[in-house]
């Protein structure tokens, strides 16, 4: 686990706690505006615009979904083509073996199925899940992130991070409190 290796920074980072979604959103805008890039926000509810506020623009899942869809489409059509034309051709009511019209529903279904699977799986893998340990859980009040509190963390690996200056900056955003998070 991560905490058995020797971390490159003395702390994981600093975390500020806010009382409302709006306060977190406002703070996120200011943190991104101040140039911090290695940040994360934690909230019990989805907040519209929060990811954009923190400057997260990457959409890495999309190409996986597209590829999953194309692979599913080819699999669906190929499976039916192979079975109906080569492997086990059957004459049904005098119709051609390659009856493309009747292949459409299964092709469509497999396109959706593979796209949905690749969306779900790539989301989990790209998020680095499952993640048995994360330093933020060392913060005392962090369990409230799934109940009533809103947290914003700036990680110590951020190029702009300075233990003292960043703590002062976070304190200026009117949080409930700012805590240092251990590894």
């Amino acid at each position: 686990m991560a905490h058995h290796e020797s971390p490159s920074t003395p702390h994981h980072g600093l975390m500020a706690e806010f009382d409302s979604a709006q306060a977190l959103l406002d703070a996120a805008h200011k943190v991104a505006g101040a140039g911090y890039t290695r940040t994360d926000a934690y909230s019990p509810i989805p907040i519209h615009g929060l990811a954009e506020a923190l400057g997260m623009k990457e959409r890495k899942v999309a190409p996986f979904v597209l590829m999953g869809g194309i692979v599913g489409m080819c699999t669906g059509y190929g499976l039916q083509y192979w079975t109906s034309v080569f492997s086990y051709p059957m004459n049904i009511g005098g119709r051609p073996f390659h009856s493309w019209v009747s292949f459409i529903p299964v092709t469509f279904e497999l396109t959706i199925l593979f796209a949905a699977f690749s969306a779900g799986i790539s989301m989990i893998v790209l998020n680095g899940l499952p993640l048995p340990y994360h330093p933020v859980f060392n913060a005392k009040r962090f369990s409230l992130a799934s109940q009533e509190s809103f947290f914003l963390a700036i990680e110590a690996t951020d190029p702009k991070f300075d233990a003292h200056a960043t703590a002062t900056f976070l304190a200026s955003l009117h949080p409930r409190e700012v805590v240092s998070v251990d590894h």
Binding site: A62, R95, V101, S102, I104
Partner: protein, 402 residues
């Protein structure tokens, strides 16, 4: 969206300059279309002219009716997409009386268009057994009923909406609940009347053919065309206030997503119809597809598949494209053009076993554009373009939500 929107200002600002420019352009294109159609009437004969007239008529009433359906849907669903597009839907439903008037030439030329209305239908046993439904008097009665229902729904919703503009802003209550109370049953009536309409005016052109999904297919096409038209209108007005204030990338993204859904829905209905008829392989149904998929009309079937489904589908998958109003409006233009081609492919083979699309089909579509768009832009200019008095407006649009 940053900053507060001034609701009172939104109710006052009207892009009358843009609208009169668009209106005179529409009248110019319409004038060219009317002149070409009139020339076609004398050069190509009555039959060719009325085939083209029917195609153009079904296309343009599709925009009026699709707008009526989306107007009722947005009252029921809520959301910023509906609030921003509401005036466009309302203005388009205002063209229904015009479309009722333009139905008269079709009603006066029944024998030219409808096989079952000709005297020789009496010697066809299948048509004799269908005569209880497919007869001219009942056809007229049904058409009158459709227009009464559509115009009744459209004028009531428009009148209430005008009252909402003119009164002081009210909190949610009975004055906005009545829109939803009417829209629910209104949509049921809409589905029923448009299903019967499509059977009467399009499917009965080939009176031996029947497909139970035909009405739903028509509704899907109308919804798709209306979304494309809405995107084009918003893009055309997006440089001036108040549309520039409320039409963000987020909104175009919404309409783009809805248009993608309708592209897929249209394809889904078409595949359903083809699959069922192809599997059953019945002598009453299959000739309809044999005519359209093979021989002279075959290439157009491929063109419809590629231009009406594959190309827009692939393009609309892109998130960036959907958020870019100008690029999205090019896709919308492609879809409107393909709607016309799809209607030609549906209606044309009934009359033309040798030929394909005729120039007159496009001339009449252009001719209808003149009066239809003139009334549409006039309606649009007569009201505030943004329903800022809607009790949900602030929450949905002004605060930048969904």
């Amino acid at each position: 969206m940053t900053g507060e929107l001034n609701q009172a200002a939104l109710l006052k600002e009207r892009p009358l300059g843009d609208l009169s420019r668009l209106s005179s352009r529409a009248l110019m294109f319409g004038g060219v279309g009317i002149a070409a159609s009139a020339a076609g009437y004398f050069m190509e004969g009555t039959s060719q002219f009325f085939q083209a007239y029917l195609i153009a008529y079904i296309f343009w009433i599709g925009l009026s009716l699709g707008s009526l359906a989306l107007l009722m849907i947005q009252y029921l669903s809520g959301g910023a997409w509906g609030l921003v597009a509401r005036r466009i839907f309302e203005a388009a439903t205002g063209t229904l009386p015009l479309m009722a008037l333009l139905f008269i030439p079709i009603a006066l030329n029944m024998e030219t268009l409808f096989l079952w209305a000709r005297p020789e239908a009496a010697s066809d046993p299948v048509l004799v057994s269908k005569a209880a439904y497919l007869n001219v008097d009942f056809f007229y009665l049904r058409a009158a009923l459709y227009f009464a229902i559509w115009i009744g729904l459209a004028t009531t919703l428009n009148r209430w909406s005008k009252q909402q503009d003119e009164s002081a802003p009210l909190p949610p209550g009975p004055m906005d609940r009545r829109f939803r109370v009417l829209s629910g049953p209104g949509l049921v009536l809409f589905m029923l009347t448009v299903t019967f309409m499509s059977v009467d005016w399009v499917m009965s052109l080939d009176p031996h053919f029947y497909s139970t999904i035909f009405g739903v297919l028509t509704v899907g096409g109308q919804g798709l065309a209306t979304l494309a038209f809405t995107i084009l209108t918003l893009q055309a007005l997006s440089n001036s206030k108040p549309i520039s204030e409320v039409t963000t990338a987020e909104r175009f993204h919404d309409y783009g997503k809805l248009m993608l859904a309708f592209v897929m829905l249209w394809a889904y209905f078409n595949v359903s119809q083809l699959l069922i008829i192809w599997s059953a392989n019945l002598p009453e149904e299959i000739p309809w597809y044999l005519e359209r998929l093979q021989g002279h009309w075959g290439p157009m079937a491929w063109f419809v598949l590629l231009g009406h489904f594959v190309l827009p589908f692939v393009l609309l998958l892109s998130r960036d494209l959907k958020r870019h109003g100008k690029v999205l409006s090019y896709v919308a233009l492609l879809i409107l053009f393909m709607r016309v081609v799809d209607l030609i492919w549906t209606v044309g083979p009934v009359f033309r076993h040798e030929g394909t699309a005729h120039w007159l089909d496009f001339a009449t579509v252009l001719a209808f554009a003149g009066p239809w768009l003139f009334i549409f832009y006039r309606n649009l200019g007569s009201r505030a373009l943004v329903p800022a008095n809607d009790p949900y407006f602030k929450e949905a649009v002004a605060d930048g939500g969904h």
